[in-house]
Amino acid sequence: MRTELTKKQEEAKKRFKDFVDRHVLPHASRRDLEESTGREAIDRLAKAGYLAPTLPKERGGKGMGILTFGLLCEEMGRGSASMLSLLTVQDMVAQGILKWGSSKQRARWLPSMTEGRVLAGFALTEPNVGSDAKSVQATATLLDESYVLRGEKKWISWAQIADLFLVVVQCAGKPSAFLLERETEGFSTEPVHGLLGFRSAMLAHLRLDDCRIPANDILGRVGFGLSHVGGTALDCGRYSVAWGSVGLAQACLEACIHYSAEREQGGSHLREYQLVQKMIADMFANISAARMLCYRAGYLKEAGRPESVMETCVAKYFASSAAYQAATDAVQIHGAAGCGGDSPVQRYFRDAKIMEIIEGTSQMHQLLIANHAHQVTPS
């Protein structure tokens, strides 16, 4: 496994950084305050080819390498965790359709998703169901040539504006996945406000009041909605969030380097104080380690190796934990200045906590990783 980027990857990373510095960073705090992302920002992402870019070219994607997509997610996470989540969710749903969709579903949805004409939402979580995903309570009942969907979904990113939802519900008592369009009769959303983090990710709760959809809108097969369809989507989501967490932690480090070099107390700059140096050293080392774990996950994913699934879990767990620690220390180093509404650091802190919850909480990851450790560690 090479640990250095190729020349092409370096150039791509530079392009991504430039895009984020020009179009995402300057607006991130304002969007966070307004709890909204305008359409023009999303259109710009689509025009740049950043929505579901790893899809093959014949499916409307850019054929972007998995590692390169990781670099994109890192830069986007550095700029705005909310904007990162748009890349995450669009990719999750696109990959679910690519792998498990019928040829008609792929033709109908994938090109539109890469062009930004169709935005997607991933609807798994419910008022009573989070980590215990297999126990979803929303249902789909087969009726003539249709399925009738009934239930609620909660905390769904981009649901205020998404056009298409991948919903996981119980069908004949088994978790199954369906594609549900926003315009379906009986479908409604309620915006979520006042979130701790990801404030401009346009979250909403969903109500499915006897939403009748064609039977062909099932994605995959009855009973495989979580294990395979959801599994594919969540694997992609973990990968994107892992890289995004590296970016968020990097933003914290950059803020601390800048602040500690400028701020003076007691006749010295903060960077001279050893306890500040310790926090920055730990931040730097953890970011480097998290990035290496993401490289490894990306390398294994590109090779199609089954170990990539667990390595992605390890990367997500470590990187999101590192991001939260980095953000905590960033607020500490900034002091009161890190708590003000005009400081990006307080946004990093709030968003970093969300990174430890989405696409599988840190605790769920710990259980999976411990189980894996018992499987593979000689004893």
Binding site: W100, S227, H228, G231, P306, E307, L368
Partner: protein
């Protein structure tokens, strides 16, 4: 590919999940209680990478994945070879 070699590779992959190298070829994998939520994805990637096949929408059927025998048969069907499962009469 020789059927024994294929079954050996599948057994090697599965044994780390079942914590047992000597399980029966027809042991129901999903009743073991040892398979977590990641197993399905890992199994798909394993058969695709190791055997050069693509698991598709139409293949989503528990009878293709429920035991070592089932996985063997599935792989052979996808590769267009005769079934590699030995019935007890053939043993």
């Amino acid at each position: 590919m020789a059927r024994n070699e294929a079954k050996k590779r599948i057994r090697s992959f599965l044994s780390k999940y079942l914590r047992d190298k000597d399980f029966e070829d027809d042991r129901d994998l999903f009743s073991s209680g040892l398979l977590n939520s990641l197993f399905a994805m890992e199994l798909v990637l394993f058969v695709e990478e190791d055997f050069g096949i693509v698991v598709e929408n139409e293949d989503l059927d528990l009878t293709n994945f429920c035991s070592l025998d089932a996985i063997s048969c599935f792989i052979e069907r996808k590769k267009g070879e005769p079934s590699i499962v030995e019935t007890k009469d053939d043993a």
